[in-house]
Structure formats: structure tokens, C-alpha cells
Symmetry: C2
């Protein structure tokens, strides 16, 4: 009950303060972000000192080294956060955009205009950079931010929020638009997810367990981010000179992220030439292979190690150098496999045939289809959005990388001179 | 468990069949709607006979006359449904629209294209026309439909679905894209709301209780429709000759619908002239009044009946001829009241002052703001969308009247010639 009260109070403060954002000009919001960027640099030593407290705890609790690396702040990383804030400030203002406009026969004038959501909650793990990255995107899109990070990053998050709030206190924006939700108690997450009417949207960023919990518990609208079981389909009409680099880049460039590929699908007609090359290249790159029956035979024949792929393998987002490989009969069969095991994130086809590409696009049912390109391009920065608050793999509202525009909703503004319905 | 299995089976059939929609041309989808329209007319007598079975039960069970009227089909109403299908078929194709397009420095070509969701569930009450209206909107936007109507309309819904399925069996679209979810068992609603991964979206249409249940139970993404506690704010700079007709039309034109007004807010500076006129006009129109302290005094002075408005009154969507009235100090105070008691649906301001209008627009936080027009204009047909599957009063994905475009999501199509990330 206390957590519910705490979150409700923070949300109410944030809601009231958010009016200073919804009525601010783009220039005023940019000024707030600039102030934040400056303050991060000026107060770097304070931030590093607080982060060191978190790091001491992390080392004592023997946190996984990879997690420790995510928790760690350095002067360079702080400068990167400040730079990120300035980049967001330089983007086109997402608010006040007129998406549709018309005048009706009765003289009513209609405008559909982009406006902020209001209050947006973020639930994330022990990455203090998210505290700043999320806050600046939300502020620039006119939204108040309720930030619920991990308790292991508590000291870092507290100082970062204080620095940001102090910075915008000198601008026209109320510092109350940034609220840190206490992380000592897990119940505040639940409270945030069920603060219906008080919080307009919650975005989870983190592990599959976190996302699943959010989906199960939330009554507030949420945007699911993250999980990526991505496929590379090498069509019978593929150019092998393109297929091989795309495959290797999709799997090995950065295997821990959601747009890395987990499964290779090869058309049966190109398998005799492509499969031996692919299996060899993947193995040379250190990728452990799981194959279907056909692939197993080819692997054995060419002396490449692989184990039989299980149902669990096909569904797994490895995040490491492991990959499933299957041979399929057609574009439709590839789409069937993807429909069964994919997560609607990114699917790539390598083909020189437009009909194959079109069919794949029509059936792939995902946030991004790559035609003759690496799955790794599903990324806000790569796609030219300039900033990204996450990658949505739901179909509602936003699909794929979410930039500033995804953090807005719309209002219909209907202007008349006394019209009534008859 | 059986309901879960039943819904999963129907969703799988619908998903597979939906490929005949996602790969169909606009002309092929239009042909399916035309076939449905024709079949509805040709088979009217069958439909009326089945509806009569439902009506017999309804009369036996002494269903409320208003509900009986909603359940009743007539030759004229069936013709209206057929006409609706033809109107939807005549709208611009919502699929394949390119919403964003660019070429990146690395040569990758990006297109954000509108595509269907896939499988959409509808949960609604005893209004058989929704069975057809929803199916045709979903089909035209490329989606398979899982229709879960009320058991009291069972016979009507069964024949309508059979007629539609038979009609499209002669086209390129698979009849399996329309599935009627059994309504005998309430558990099928829960099963639909939790068929995550099998159903892409569920839209509830009906009572506040239904919507609330959907919000609480659903793990599938949903779009909340319906509840409307709408306000008319008469600003100090209002033209009284516009304010009075707008107020009366907003409240009395059709009080049972969600875009009817429930509360009148009057700026204190115009209250001395406007309030007596308004209270009298509302009373003359048969509207029962609930006032704040100031309003109570004015009502008493002018001999108009009113009771003190309670907290519950301010929150209530009456649906009948009752209205709350309050005097407020400013645009901001009006916005405060609306933020506290409103449902983010439609808010009207009557003013001749642009600054008041702009401030109200920035603070009203709703699907539609009416400036000098009746709240009754928040309506897909009135706003020129041609068809409407409901009015969203959530902020995610679609806000306000939802036409064909709201039933689509997007895919990023990224076309390269072998690009990889470095």
C-alpha cells in the first residue's frame, strides 16, 4: 500500500509539472536539455563518486563482470550522455506536428496534432545511462518521466536525477517533471504498472523476465521492447557473395543485442552450394551450431561440428555465438518457421528476386524486414532517428526503433464557429 | 482449459488464413466486401429468422426494451449493414501506404509501410450489427477477425458469420479469416484476452464494466474504447449566442452516447450573464441539474431546481438527461477540473479568444478538443473517416475515432545490396 501511495504521489507531482512541458516551446525544451548536458559535465566528479558507491556494492556482491561493466560510469561515458542530450535537443521538435488536416462541408476545421502522452514510466535495469537517455527523450517529447531503475544503481541514479533536476530548475521547465521512483522495494514496480489513470504509459527495458512480468502485471498501457529471435533467410535466388557477409555480420557483429540473428534458414535449392560455406564460415567465427536433420548431414559430411536443434533451440535468443540452421522448401516455408519461432523483431532475406522479396515482406510479420542487409541495422541511430528509447516489438502504437515521435500521441483539434449536430 | 484450446485453435486458423488477406490486393479485399454486401441482402430472410430466435429469448428473459432494440434486426437494418460494407469498400486502401521513406548515407533504402496487425479480436455486447461492421473494417484493413459477441445474440451472430464466410468463399480470401468465438461460456472472453502471441490486438466495445474487465485481465494488447465524461467549458470570452446551442446540443442531442457532455464549466466572469440562461435552457430541455455551491445559489435565485453535485456526480457518465454545473476561475481551473474528473475523450471550449483556446488545447489532454463546436462531433462519420470501429480514449496507437488506418501497424522495409554494420 505504501508503494502505491508513493508512486501515486510522484505521478501526481509529475502530472502537474508536465504542464510546464506541454505549454513550453521547443526552444524552451531544448534549453532544458542543454542545461542538463552542461550540468552532467560540470558535476562529473560527484556523479563518479556516487557511481563508485554502487560499484563497491556490486564488487562485494560479486555481480557478473558484464553487469558491472554496464553499471560503471566513467568521465568518457558521462560525456557521452551529455553529448546524447545535445543530440536529442538538435532533433526536429516532435510536438505540434500536424499529421492530418481537413475542412468539413459544415465548415469545421480538423487538425490532428502531435501532443505529449503526459506521464511516462520507465522500468529498467542496472544501467545508469538509461536514467539520462530516457529522461532527455521524454522531456524533449513533452513528457514527465517516472524513472524506476535498479536498486544496484541507486546511488548513481539519485545523483543523475538530482543533477538533471537542479539543471532544469534554472529553466522554464519544472524540475518535478523528473521523478526517481524508489528502487529499494520491488513493490514500486508493481505500483507503477498499475497506476492506471495516473501514468499514461510504461516502457520496460531489460531482460525477458522483466518484459514478461510487465505484460502480466500491467494495467497501464505498455510498450513491449526487446526480445529478438531474428532470422536470416537465404533464398534460392540469393547472391552468395552478399549472403555470407550478411549472415556473419547478423550473427557475430554483436551477439548480445536484440537485432543479432539466432537462426539461419536456407532454401533447399541453394543449400548444396551455400550451406557448406556457411557452416564453415560460422564455425571459423566461433559460432556453435544446431542443425535440422539435413543440416546435420551436411555438417557431418564436411566435418563441421553441430548438434541437433531442439524445439527450445529454435525459440532461443542466445545472445552469444550460437546459431540454429535449417533448410526450407520455399519462401512460404521460411515464413512458416519464422511465424512459429520468431518474435516479430527483424527478419532478413537475401535474394536477387523481387517476387521472393515481396512475398517475404508480405509474410514476415515483423518490425523490420531487411532485404539484402544485415539484421543489425534495426537501430534508431543506424536508421537515422538520432535517438532511441527502445525497440518495440509489439504492433500497437510503435513498431521497431522508437525515437521522439513514438513518445507522442495525438489530439484532434476541431475548430468551428458554433456548429452543432442536427 | 477447453476455452483456451478453442480460442487458440480459432486464432491459429485465422492466422494462417490471414495470409490470403495480407497478400491480397486492395481490389481483391474490396471484392470480398462487395460479396458480403450482396449476400446480406440475398439472405435477409434467413438472417431475420435467426434474429427472431434471439428476440424470442430476449422477450422471455424480459430484456430491457432498449437492449431489445439493439438486438433487433430488420430488413432496413440489414440493408444498412450491407450499405456500410460497400462504403468501407469504397474507402482508400489503408494497406501499403508509405508513411516514411529515406535513403541513408550507406545506400540503405528505408520505407515505413502500413501493414495489417494479423489477427484482431473483438469483444462486444448484444448488437449483431457490430458482427458485420467490425468484420468488414477488419477485412478491408487486412486482418482476420475473431468475433466474440454476446450469447444473447448467438443465433444472429452465427447466421451473419455464416453468410459472410459463404460470401467470401467465392473470392480469393479464405473464409477462415472470420471466426465466431463461442459465446456460451464466459471463459472464452478471458481466453481471448490472454491469447498472447496468437491474437495481436483485442478491441472491447461495450459497457464500462466490460472495458474495465478487459483492462484488468488482458495480456494481449488492447485498445480501450468508450467511456466519455465530456465537458463544455464556457470561457469568459465566449459568445453566448454560440455557447447556448453548443451546450444544449452537447448534452441533449443524444445523451446515451459517449460524446455527449456531462458537465458544464463556466468562467466566473461570464457566469452572471450566462449561468441563469444556461440553467433555464437546460431545465426547459428536461435536464436534471447538479451544481456546485455557486451554481446552487444562482439556481435558487432564479427558481431553477438543482441538487448539490457530489464527487460521484462529477465522475459520472450519465447517459441520460442529467448534468453537473460548476463555476471556475480560469482556463487552468477548468483544465484542473477536467484532469480530475474527465476521461480524456472530448472537451469543448467556447471562446472568441485565441489565447484561451490555445491554453485549453495545451491542457485538455483528450482525444478531441472542440473549439466553438458541439462535443457530438467526435465521431468517425462526422469527421469524414467514413467508418469507425470505435472511439479510442487511450493514448497509445490510436486516439479518438478509429477508422481503417487505426487497424494497421507498420513494417520498416530496409533494402540494400549487401550492407553490413562495421
Amino acid at each position: 500500500m505504501d508503494s502505491v501511495r508513493t508512486v501515486a504521489d510522484l505521478a501526481e507531482k509529475a502530472r502537474f509539472a508536465s504542464r510546464t512541458l506541454s505549454t513550453a516551446s521547443g526552444a524552451e525544451r531544448k534549453a532544458a536539455l542543454e542545461a542538463i548536458a552542461q550540468a552532467l559535465i560540470t558535476r562529473s566528479s560527484e556523479i563518479l563518486a556516487a557511481n563508485e558507491l554502487d560499484m563497491v556494492n556490486a564488487r562485494e556482491e560479486k555481480m557478473h563482470p558484464q553487469m558491472q561493466d554496464r553499471l560503471l560510469l566513467t568521465a568518457e561515458r558521462i560525456a557521452g550522455m551529455a553529448d546524447g542530450a545535445r543530440q536529442v535537443a538538435a532533433l526536429p521538435d516532435p510536438l505540434g506536428q500536424v499529421l492530418n488536416e481537413s475542412t468539413l462541408p459544415n465548415g469545421l476545421h480538423l487538425r490532428q496534432m502531435s501532443v505529449p502522452f503526459g506521464v511516462i514510466g520507465m522500468v529498467y535495469e542496472a544501467r545508469p545511462n538509461v536514467t539520462v537517455d530516457a529522461a532527455v527523450i521524454l522531456l524533449m517529447s513533452g513528457n514527465a518521466a517516472l524513472l524506476r531503475g535498479s536498486s544496484t544503481a541507486r546511488n548513481s541514479n539519485e545523483i543523475l536525477v538530482n543533477v538533471m533536476r537542479d539543471a532544469i530548475a534554472s529553466t522554464k521547465i519544472s524540475p518535478e517533471v523528473i521523478q526517481l521512483v524508489p528502487s529499494e522495494d520491488r513493490a514500486t514496480v508493481k505500483a507503477l504498472l498499475t497506476a492506471r489513470g495516473k501514468v499514461d504509459l510504461v516502457i520496460p527495458r531489460g531482460s525477458a523476465q522483466l518484459i514478461r512480468m510487465v505484460v502480466d502485471e500491467a494495467t497501464v498501457p505498455t510498450i513491449e521492447t526487446g526480445a529478438g529471435v531474428c532470422h536470416v533467410y537465404v533464398d534460392e535466388f540469393a547472391d552468395i557473395d552478399k549472403a555470407l557477409p550478411i549472415l556473419l555480420n547478423s550473427k557475430t557483429h554483436r551477439p548480445s543485442v536484440c537485432n543479432a540473428a539466432e537462426t539461419l534458414l536456407v532454401h533447399k535449392n541453394i543449400a548444396p552450394t551455400f550451406l557448406p560455406l556457411a557452416l564453415k564460415a560460422l564455425t571459423d567465427a566461433g559460432v556453435a551450431l544446431h542443425g535440422d536433420a539435413t543440416v546435420q548431414k551436411v555438417a557431418e559430411k564436411f566435418g563441421v561440428a553441430s548438434t541437433p536443434a531442439t524445439e527450445e533451440n529454435w525459440c532461443t535468443e542466445y545472445g552469444i555465438l550460437e546459431m540454429n540452421v535449417a533448410v526450407v522448401d520455399s519462401v512460404d516455408a521460411a515464413a512458416d518457421h519464422i511465424a512459429k519461432y520468431g518474435t516479430n523483431h527483424t527478419e532478413a532475406i537475401v535474394t536477387e528476386n523481387q517476387a521472393s522479396a515481396d512475398r517475404f515482406i508480405a509474410l514476415a510479420d515483423c518490425a523490420a524486414v531487411m532485404v539484402n542487409a544485415s539484421t543489425r541495422f534495426t537501430d534508431g541511430e543506424q536508421m537515422g532517428f538520432g535517438a532511441e528509447i527502445g525497440i518495440s516489438n509489439q504492433k500497437l502504437h510503435a513498431r521497431g526503433p522508437m525515437g521522439l515521435a513514438a513518445m507522442t500521441t495525438t489530439t484532434w483539434i476541431v475548430t468551428g464557429n458554433g456548429q452543432i449536430r442536427s
